[in-house]
């Protein structure tokens, strides 16, 4: 009995056939290997002709060289212009005249795309359309329609992503495990390889060849993202070396913490090596503002540079009154000097992605910066007052700083905490100041700020 059942089932179902829709062959065709060119004998003939062609070519080369170059140059320029035209953003009011395809797409709304014949028409339009903004807006609509019918969270996440990119023209690129966000640059649409895989069945009921069409589109180049940055933080002045008029003495043994106006510094050095300046390792503050440029160089790494104007204010050091008593040479802190600096900072950072999911991106920062000190002023505090006198100025010195830290990016907003360590000091009479500190920076894309 059992064998009969299997036998009967097989005989019914073996020949069971269904007619596929026309769209299936239309989607298979583009994926097929291209027709081979003739081989073997053609190559032999070509090889035989090569010396002849070369000889003729060399003879002609000297006379036509200049002409060839200019032609090639014109061709290159033409191609570049053509590409630019293809990817020109479409102004919605000019849709009809610039790109009729946008109008054609607009009729495929809501229920119309549910029929197979409409889907195959749509697919051929998208194949011909030059992969423009209309396509991404259409995709966006598709997701939105699916969302209306109560589909799960993942569809809404894709919807939000598409919406964000379509409306804000973000040029971020992030790769998720399940689906890719689009990289949007000059209206170029980027495919999502497994676009429909994680999406609700209602959206998957759209002809899958539609997804295959989108998969054929090329990946865009990763480009620079410009951001406005502001930051603030604390600066610490490390005063490591102190000069006298004639000798250089390094202070490494401080017996008691020095305080202004009452502290002492016992050094045990002879009066000939008079120490004039006392370090005050007090914190100051700094603020920065400027432009940052960020570029992804691979899935995990980004590079960042920019230009930041920095204002730094620190209490730097104090002069000392020297006193000799019982063969012990002591100094008393007297006048406080305050340091203010205006700097142009050019940072260079390498960012390593540690976590990247659901629009949250956490990364490690390593780098360095060049600081061009536009001016560095020392102000002398008048004793027992809060008034300062300009003591000295210097400018146009270069400082180098090491940077390390961590950053978080959520949607378009970037926040970083960076530790800076000065590698080169600022020289001032009597002191070498090394500036270090901690910096908290916030960055926002330039385009989103301009748009607002």
């Amino acid at each position: 009995m059992s064998n009969n059942f299997e036998h009967n089932v097989k005989s019914i179902l073996d020949d069971f056939a269904l007619a596929p829709s026309e769209a299936v062959w239309k989607s298979i065709e583009p994926e097929l290997p291209k027709k081979r060119k003739r081989r073997a004998i053609i190559w032999w003939l070509a090889a035989a002709c090569v010396p002849t062609i070369l000889g003729i070519g060399l003879a002609l080369n000297s006379t036509s060289n200049k002409k060839d170059k200019s032609t090639a140059k014109n061709n290159v320029i033409k191609t570049q212009n053509e590409n630019k035209e293809d990817f020109k953003p479409i102004n919605t009011t000019e849709k009809a005249s610039i790109n009729p395809k946008a109008n054609e797409l607009s009729q495929y709304t809501d229920n119309k795309i549910n029929t197979t014949s409409n889907q195959s028409d749509l697919q051929s339009i998208l194949l011909k359309s030059k992969r423009n903004k209309a396509s991404i807006i259409f995709l966006n609509k598709l997701i939105r329609d699916a969302k209306k019918s109560g589909t799960p969270k993942k569809v809404s996440l894709i919807n939000n992503t598409y919406k964000q990119i379509a409306t804000t023209k973000s040029i971020e690129y992030n790769e998720h495990k399940r689906y890719d966000e689009l990289l949007w640059k000059d209206s170029l649409v980027v495919p999502i390889p497994n676009f429909l895989e994680s999406v609700d069945t209602k959206v998957e009921n759209v002809n899958p060849s539609f997804a295959a069409t989108i998969r054929c589109l090329p990946q865009p180049k990763k480009s620079w993202i410009f951001q406005i940055a502001i930051s603030g933080g604390s600066s610490v002045v490390e005063n490591r070396t102190f000069f006298t008029n004639s000798n250089q003495i390094e202070l490494s043994n401080i017996n008691t913490p020095p305080t202004v106006g009452g502290g002492v510094l016992t050094t045990g050095v002879t009066p000939n090596n008079t120490i004039k300046y006392l370090p005050l390792p007090q914190n100051g503050f700094h603020i920065k503002a400027g432009l940052i440029a960020n570029k992804p160089i691979s899935k995990k790494f980004n590079i960042q540079t920019g230009a930041l104007y920095t204002f730094r204010n620190n209490k730097s050091f104090a002069t000392l009154d020297s006193v000799m008593s019982n063969n012990i040479f002591t100094e008393k802190a007297n006048t406080i000097y305050q340091n203010q600096a205006h700097t142009l900072e050019i940072p260079f950072q390498l960012q390593t992605q540690l976590y990247n999911k659901r629009q949250i991106n956490i990364y490690l920062i390593t780098g360095a910066s060049i600081n061009w000190q536009l001016s560095n002023t020392y102000l002398q505090q008048i004793t027992n007052t809060n008034r300062y006198l300009l003591n000295s100025q210097n400018r146009n010195t270069f400082l180098f700083t090491l940077q390390t830290g961590v950053g978080v990016k959520f949607k378009n907003v970037n926040a970083q905490i960076i530790l800076n360590k000065g590698l080169t000091p600022i020289h001032q009479t009597g002191v070498k100041n090394y500036f270090s500190g901690i910096d908290a920076m916030v960055m926002m894309p330039l385009k989103s700020i301009i748009k607002r």
């Binding site: 299997e6 019914i12 073996d14 020949d15 299936v24 065709e29 097929l32």
Partner: protein, 184 residues
Amino acid sequence: MNSTHQLVKDCIKNSRQAQEALYKQYASVMLGLCYRYTISIEDAEDVLQEGFIKVFHNIEKYRNEGDLGAWIRKIMVNTALTYLNKHNKYKKEMQLDEIQMHPLTDENIEVKLETKELIETIRQLPAGYQTIFNLVAVEGFSHVEIADLMKINVNTVRSQYKRARGIIIKKLTNNEIIHLYNEQ
């Protein structure tokens, strides 16, 4: 040189005409096969599309030994299995041990009543049971081969096939499609 051989030869040369002819010759039967493994005609067409792309990319490997249709069928079955394991809506059901029949979409395919009943009953099974039943009863794979193909235990194949078979027979009996298992 018979026509199938010539057709294959032209397909190897990537003649578009030959490829289209081959597709037209086998597409309907293969779509029927894909339909048995999926829950919607759209999914079936998706599998069909991927399967034929593989066929044309690997046509050189067909050595004119055995039936071309059988060779294409093998590719199509493998494509269907890959598809089921790749897509989330089937993935869970592939590992399901309990039988929970799922409703089908209202697809008005034009076939004989008993064929329709049989196919719909098979397609209502969870994806894992459906696949095993198709592979045993229709494709003729052995339990050991299926266990190897689906990376599951051979006892699982046996028990799931037995249960699927039982449910199908019961449903067909209730619908009075009983001659399928009568001795002839």
